[in-house]
Subunit: 126 residues, 2 copies
DNA sequence: CAGGATCCAGCGCGATACTG
DNA sequence: CAGTATCGCGCTGGATCCTG
């Protein structure tokens, strides 16, 4: 159940991936990276995320030191989110994946089409 | 719901992340990358994955053209999995993330400790 | 406007049992 | 050994309502 066996790093990598791989975390980081600073509802609208998930994810990201939360006690309240240096630092690796994705999605789609076409008929015959 | 709003690439990036971000997909790719070729139960043991998830994930990865499946109709049967060129090509970006993780996990843990310490007491005062 | 609280549906995923 | 089929629970995450 937790026996990542011989692959010790796996657990740590896993840890990070459960954050980095989380669609909302990634999208938020990307958005904040592009826009610099965004307010709660701006993020909400931009990403089409429910405010529950936005709230939860932002708190997690803040907790992890990835985003800054600036609270302005005005009326109405105004909260601005932006990336911390740590948050900035992950943009590179993230972009790598993004680029790979954009470059290889066609290949993937193609592979899928091929796979689906013969839909597992003669797997062993050949 | 589906309104990724202005962020058109987001949906595609999301697509890839739901695969790349999937813990099992990643671990399988990493394992196959390290060992070259592995059999079903070898992967199962190495990763501590249930055979259900392993089966499902492998099929997805095969469908996406990321892994090769070589079936040997011997008795007992023997199936060998390995990375395709496409699968190989994602190892780089993946390693980027992994490296980032290993380098920054301490910073994250630290940030968390700090966050948890003041556990959201004076959020606006200070 | 920013977000907490609640409720609830869906499916992710593990455990188990069976097959070729 | 390499899977498939089934069941069941827990967590994810959206919808909704409410507050400061």
């Amino acid at each position: 159940m937790k026996s990542d066996g011989p692959c010790k790093d796996c657990s740590r990598i896993n840890e990070v991936l459960s954050r980095v791989g989380d669609r909302w975390s990634v999208l938020i980081v990307i958005s904040l990276g592009n826009y610099g600073t965004l307010r709660f509802n701006e993020l909400k609208r931009n990403l089409g995320i429910s405010q529950r998930m936005l709230s939860l994810t932002l708190r997690e990201l803040e907790r992890d030191g990835m985003v800054n939360r600036e609270y302005h006690p005005t009326i109405p309240p105004k909260v601005e989110y932006s990336l911390t240096p740590l948050g900035e630092s992950i943009r590179g690796p993230l972009r790598e994946i993004g680029d790979w994705a954009l470059n290889n999605l066609p290949a993937i789609d193609e592979a899928r089409a091929r796979y689906d076409a013969q839909s597992g008929l003669d797997r062993e015959s050949a």
